[in-house]
């Protein structure tokens, strides 16, 4: 954590040497992490990295084999135990794995039940439920049976169930998995809105784009170990490289190899990186060229000037946030995999 606005007093959750073993398998190993008030922390990692286990320990659904979780209460960090979990976790909203609902209930019934379980005053519950459902644009569905809902709508109700009791911290485990792009965008917008409201959000995902679009801080977990934890910007700086996404018009179908070679000759000296293979590559899925560079804005400008000066018709020239993290993520996960294999 490098951001100066955060300090010891802004820590709302602290994982201290958190470890969880299942027999001989270590799902989470010596995890040390701090979540600060009002920030969005993204927990990234491939499937099986230990993300869900970490969140389940936070929700006290499973207990750590070693280490502790500390949660701020009345101004001081208290160790989460069986005795205090009730009131400490009142200020948390959890969405662990797939949200599944009883089919024969309505959002109003189930959200009211969840709110009141977590101590929300009964007399205010009705209005609160109507407000949060309206916030997701589902007002007209509030009294319909959940059995008639699409997967995306169920997921939205699942997310609402985490905030209906007005928690301080919202913990979401892969909230966008299996959703269509429109629903994913809506959920990202919703998370940013929650941040504006002052909520602290801890979100796990294996979708790099999802995390990079919303998170202030990213923790990368691999084989149960924390391999990186910092702000997005600092991680990029550590990676010492970023990606420019370049689209040309017309798209050079059939001449991709020639264009790539030509681009490499022109641009390689401007990237700020050591000469290497695949400094410039073509992504068939996005139909765009990807240029690796050191992230220096001056080099970015020079590259653009060189392209336009050499009569390339540039239709898109951008540095997507996900792209910036992708190589770092893949290299960290790959390194972890190699270590594990050894």
């Amino acid at each position: 954590m490098t951001d100066n606005i955060f300090n010891e007093n802004t820590v709302v959750v602290r994982f201290s040497n958190l470890t969880r073993r299942f027999g001989n398998f270590t799902a989470v190993s010596n995890l040390n992490l701090e979540i600060h008030e009002g920030e969005i922390v993204g927990l990234l990692g491939p499937n099986g990295a230990g993300k869900s286990t970490t969140m389940k320990m936070m929700a006290y659904l499973i207990r750590p084999s070693e280490g502790d979780i500390f949660i701020r209460h009345n101004g001081k960090l208290e160790r989460l135990t069986n005795n205090n979990k009730d009131f400490l976790l009142d200020r948390f909203g959890f969405l662990i794995e797939n949200p599944a609902f009883y089919d024969n209930v309505t959002p109003r019934q189930v959200l009211s039940y969840f709110a009141e379980l977590r101590g929300y005053p009964t007399k205010s519950t009705r209005k609160r439920v109507e407000d949060v459902v309206a916030m997701m644009g589902l007002s007209e569905w509030i009294d319909k049976k959940i059995s008639t809902f699409s997967k995306g709508m169920r997921q939205k109700i699942g997310i609402l169930s985490t905030i209906v009791h007005d928690p301080q911290v919202v913990v979401l485990d892969e909230p966008s998995t299996g959703l269509d792009p429109k629903a994913q965008v809506e959920i990202r917008g919703f998370l940013l809105k929650l941040k504006e409201m002052g909520k602290t959000i801890f979100i796990s995902s294996h979708l790099l784009y999802e995390i990079s679009e919303v998170a202030d801080t990213v923790a990368i977990l691999n084989h149960g170990q924390l391999v990186a934890y910092d702000t997005v910007e600092t991680l990029e700086a550590k990676a010492k490289k970023s990606i420019i996404q370049l689209e040309l018009f017309p798209n050079p179908n059939g001449q991709v190899q020639d264009v790539t070679t030509h681009l490499a000759q022109l641009i390689s000296p401007l990237t700020g990186l050591e000469p290497q293979k695949n400094l410039i590559r073509y992504n068939g899925n996005t139909r765009a060229f990807e240029i690796l560079f050191d992230g220096n804005p001056e080099h970015q400008v020079q590259i653009l000037k060189t392209l336009t000066g050499n009569n390339f018709n540039v239709s898109d020239f951008s540095v997507p946030r996900a792209g910036l993290l992708e190589d770092l993520y893949l290299s960290l996960v790959q390194e972890g995999g190699n270590v594990q294999n050894e």
Partner: protein
């Protein structure tokens, strides 16, 4: 969800002092909320069970009409409607209790629920909701029988309400067995079928074995034995067992087979309380450790 729609919503943070009570008050509040929520969710089962009960009553009415004979005493008339009542209690318990624990793992509904409420409270709340609904269902059966008795005899024997009390006590025991099955197994259907097999077939086999081995021990360890008091209460036998000489094979003819008719009132109350406590605590311990398949 449009930005404007978002902007229109204002959410003043909840003042922490407003959040409702902690400690023991919280426990009762959560159990109470669970009773209401789960009770509402299971109303359709109650309606189904009432229909099944009414069907049974109708069948007995038809049988009595075909026989063209009504017993001279109102109590005997009531007893004639209780022939299959223990089976009806079994069906009721399985319908209401089969899903009580296993459903959150089978349907994965526990992912949302378990972080919000401790499993013990959830189990207590659900148990109370379901035994209440199941008791209502049994009571309606008795009310229907009482109405028919009043029509035929212009009186309703008070003792039948005491019998209903025994029926609800037996329901508590059977429901406890079903809850344990629901904790042990991984599917609702499996839990229901296993409960039926254990309570019907296994109990019957053990009863037969006990009788033919000449055992004189009262089978208080068999859950189904407690059902006998529901109809026996109208005219408690003394002694509470019958004996008959063995027959057939040489060498056993001097032995006596003892068949127990019903537990005593004290035996039934103490037996059911101890038995159901063991079953429910076992179910809770399994439930507490049970993890969802991911």
């Amino acid at each position: 969800m449009s930005d404007s729609a978002l902007e229109e919503q204002t959410f003043a943070p909840l003042q922490e002092g407003v959040r409702t009570n902690f400690g023991k008050g919280r426990t009762f509040r959560q159990i109470g909320k669970t009773v209401v929520f789960d009770g509402h969710r299971n109303l359709k089962k109650l309606i189904s069970m009432i229909l099944i009960n009414t069907l049974f009553v109708s069948l007995f009415v038809i049988i009595n009409m075909l026989r063209e004979y009504n017993p001279p005493e109102a109590t005997d008339y009531v007893v004639s409607y209780l022939s299959f009542f223990s089976f009806l209690i079994l069906i009721t318990a399985i319908l209401f209790g089969g899903s009580i624990i296993v459903e959150d793992f089978e349907k994965q509904t526990g992912n949302l629920l378990f972080p919000k409420i401790e499993r013990g409270r959830l189990m207590v709340g659900r148990y109370l909701a379901r035994i209440a609904l199941a008791s209502i269902s049994l009571t309606i059966y008795y009310v229907e029988v009482a109405l028919l008795t009043y029509i035929n005899y212009e009186t309703v024997p008070v003792i039948m309400w005491e019998s209903l009390g025994w029926a609800i006590l037996y329901l508590h025991l059977v429901l406890s067995c079903v809850v344990l099955m629901s904790a042990l197994l991984n599917r609702i259907a499996t839990a229901q079928v296993a409960s039926l097999l254990v309570l019907l077939m296994v109990s019957q086999i053990v009863t037969e074995i006990l009788m033919f081995t000449g055992s004189t021990i009262e089978p208080l360890f068999l859950p189904t034995y407690y059902s006998n008091i529901i109809s026996a209460w109208f005219n408690m036998p003394d002694p509470r067992f019958g004996e008959r000489p063995a027959f057939g094979f040489e060498g056993v003819s001097d032995r006596v087979f003892r068949s127990w008719a019903t537990p005593s009132a004290e035996g039934a109350i103490i037996g059911v309380i101890i038995y159901s406590a063991i079953l429910l605590v076992s179910a809770y311990l399994i439930y507490h450790r049970k993890q969802a398949k991911t």
